[in-house]
Symmetry: C2
Subunit: 313 residues, 2 copies
Amino acid sequence: MGADLRYAVIGTGALGGFYGARLQRAGAEVHYLLRSDYDHVKENGLAVESPDGNFTLPEVYAYSDAQKMPPCDVAIVALKTTQNHLLSSVLPPLTETGVVLVLQNGLGVEAQAAELVGSDRVLGGLCFLCSNKVGPGHIRHLDYKKIAMGEYRADQSAGGVTERLEAIAQDFERADIPIERAEDLVLARWKKLMWNIPFNGLSVILNATTDAMMSDDNARTLAEILMEEVRQGASSQGRTVPAAFTQTMLDHTAAMKPYRTSMKIDYDERRPLEVEAMYGAPVRAAQAQGVVLPHIETLYHQLKFLDQQNRQG
Amino acid sequence: MGADLRYAVIGTGALGGFYGARLQRAGAEVHYLLRSDYDHVKENGLAVESPDGNFTLPEVYAYSDAQKMPPCDVAIVALKTTQNHLLSSVLPPLTETGVVLVLQNGLGVEAQAAELVGSDRVLGGLCFLCSNKVGPGHIRHLDYKKIAMGEYRADQSAGGVTERLEAIAQDFERADIPIERAEDLVLARWKKLMWNIPFNGLSVILNATTDAMMSDDNARTLAEILMEEVRQGASSQGRTVPAAFTQTMLDHTAAMKPYRTSMKIDYDERRPLEVEAMYGAPVRAAQAQGVVLPHIETLYHQLKFLDQQNRQG
């Protein structure tokens, strides 16, 4: 990797579009892969609204075909996990030291990329971001933006903070994106699941925003039970999420503005839900270690059913 | 108890109206307590549509005040369990050997009656009935009608088949209602929960009819998991529901016509759901024996939330 990293953004939507545009505005060379928005973005570039200040990038490197992209140092996968089976056809060529950075929720989401480029060339990241795409190439950033980023290891061990991780982190920080360098990506993923498993799933199943859940004894109790079960899941993988983290997450959620989760937005828009990465993979990972996560398993089956019905209807 | 039992029906709706009218048509003396339908039924009697044949009872003993009812031998409680806190004001006077017959789903539903009349004067029954009230004093019976009936015991032991149980059973059978004499009411209740816990709850949470659930892998798998957990719950109370019963229930449900459960109908009509009797009580009974029922507990909290929201909205 040279000093100036060349980025590819695979999936230029609410998440990929936001981070890509911020990197480009900060001086990085960014190449965007698009599907439905290709013509519009090729012509008009990207527009970002944000509490940090609105900006537009009238000219961007836009592609509709990954094979036409130049070799990149960092290919940011910003697709939903439900599209990871398409990865082989949407990854750009990589430079000799190029890596794939999988910015997705859930567990086991790096496996597909690792199969394609080798497990020593994959990093993962968890985005704490509230952002929507409101039109072609038009992103509305609402709140948060931090990323927890770490090295992927095929054996699920902690990868530590490598030079290449540091270089990427610094590029993001130059774009004013706070980066948590995760020594242990697996632990970072389970910590993110502490929030995602209760609130994403229940928001769909109970048709509720975070404030409605937090102000109801039963929903809040169930969220807490689910968080405790996530901790047990982490523990089955040799990771310790401190008990106090449950209360931290609850307090944090109680303090949030009423929030429709990303899974609820997907559901309302009749898009596929990330049930496998967020519920199926954790349940199976724990089960492989002989640990049952029955409350999470209940949500898994319920969400699979609702997702299926939602997209039939 | 004399040879001719005098019956009271407390709650003359889809269930109480159906069984009361059948008993009366077969020659029993039946007294009906009504609330909103009192004026209409006092004037016009009861009308029952049924695959067994339609019939009307132009004259019935109708009451709006339980204290005005004559002493009865059998007071049939046909209210929803959500109204059991009102029982003290709606029970009629009983004859010296009179009993209360609680025709309700769930667990622990006889406790309120036992407190009022003594635990040695209470029987319980589980109705396998598909029936709706379609207008004042107008009942539409759709399918099934069997009752499993047994003696209540304060110590939860099996009460056996007593003479008074036999006498009541024969009255119902004269009215062409099949009666299963349950030697062990607690076991009968857990067996009924084998169906009610998965299908009533999931029909509300997943907004689905029985056929939609049975034809989906995830919903069917979750129903099966829940049934296995009901078996564990029964086991915690010293009751054995045979493993094969799960498959029997699944086959039975698959063979049913598409069915909107009674809890789903209550939910759609914004009536209170019987969550405590059907989910809370079994979870707590098992917990008291050190047995956790986590899948059922998940449904419990979800249903409590949905019920709450549903009646606020």
